[in-house]
């Protein structure tokens, strides 16, 4: 599944910023092997985190096909610059890189085209404020979501914490930690999402 080599675009700025990061703990073995150029490790990391990157770009109003292309370019750029990285913090580093590529693309298209793109994006989403930027929670939405979070069962809250707070835990790993099947973790996750969606949209 390893991605073929393709040209990467202006990635220097954001990578340069992340190179200064010194991790407080050792990288996971898979990420360490990826940094040393192990292609199987890269395959595993891409399989694990690629959807998260695509979704983060969809949330910014990008169409699905472009989101997938930019996710692809993100992995290529990270692989090409692996020797300069002291740690491969995923999915955070890849999401930052993908968003940088998306923003850089908009800049290169020029202001007029960017405005038009924002308008098209805005038409696609439910809330017009989502075009080009994350739709952050308003204070009252956040309060409602926090109140809804408090009503969850301890098990559901633990699933939420593992999958959204830790950020790097798969459904299978969360199930192993909580003594649940992977399928049950997904069911709980869908229930949590429904509860919180209703609270935010209230």
């Amino acid at each position: 599944m390893f991605l073929p080599a393709r040209r990467s675009f202006g990635v220097d700025l954001v990578l340069a910023a992340d190179l200064r990061y010194v991790p407080s703990e050792m990288s996971k073995p898979e990420e360490t092997r990826a940094l040393s150029g192990d292609r199987a490790a890269w395959d595993a990391l891409i399989a694990r985190h690629d959807r998260r990157i695509v979704v983060s770009l969809l949330a910014r109003g990008l169409p699905i096909e472009r989101a997938k292309e930019l996710a692809h370019e993100t992995w290529i750029s990270l692989f090409a610059r692996r020797a300069e990285l002291t740690a491969l913090r995923l999915p955070g580093l890849a999401i930052t890189q993908a968003r940088f590529l998306a923003a850089d693309e908009l800049r290169r298209q020029g202001r007029a085209v960017a405005r038009a793109a924002d308008e098209r994006s805005a038409e696609r989403v439910r809330d017009p404020r989502t075009g080009g930027e994350d739709r952050l929670l308003r204070r009252e939405e956040l309060a409602r979501a926090q109140a809804a979070l408090a009503t969850l069962t301890p098990s559901a809250r633990r699933v939420f914490e593992l999958l959204y707070d830790r950020d790097d835990v798969s459904h299978r790993e969360a199930g192993e930690l909580l003594g649940l099947s992977e399928q049950r973790v997904r069911q709980v996750l869908c229930e949590v999402r429904r509860t919180l969606r209703e609270a935010i949209e209230e």
Partner: protein, 133 residues
């Protein structure tokens, strides 16, 4: 799911949380690429996903221990404020006294001259250092 069938909300949610098989995910992607209404629904799911990550990051006082730390810190700040405001202080000076004191400290003769020291450029400017006029 066939190409002409709209994916259900559950299917779009499953795509966002990465719970579909590669074949199912590819099917959703193909449909969404050609269907603006489903693309909007998928974007909404993606936006919610970002909001849940934001919620996880911004939850206040996640653990009971954090509440104790916050409570102790609040008490410490309150105690510091009480001690500060109840501490005895020396007599307060008004503005004229401060000006008079500052003038006296800068120039010992200022007090003798009534606090209005004059400045004579001819006394302080030396055009050729080391050479007496």
């Amino acid at each position: 799911m066939k190409m002409d069938q709209h994916p259900t909300r559950t299917a779009l949610e499953a795509y966002v949380i990465d719970a579909l098989s590669p074949a199912e995910a590819a099917e959703v992607e193909r449909h969404v690429a050609a269907c603006p209404s489903c693309a909007a629904a998928l974007t909404a799911e993606a936006v919610l996903e970002g909001q849940l990550h934001e919620l996880a990051r911004t939850r206040p006082l996640r653990r009971p221990r954090a509440r104790w730390v916050a409570a102790v810190a609040s008490l410490a700040v309150a105690a510091s404020l009480v001690i500060y405001f109840r501490a005895p202080r020396g007599p307060r000076l008004d503005f004229d006294q401060i000006v008079a004191r500052a003038s006296t400290e800068d120039d010992p003769t200022a007090g003798e001259l009534g606090g209005t020291a004059s400045f004579d450029p001819a006394l302080s400017f030396d055009p050729e250092p080391g050479v007496s006029p």
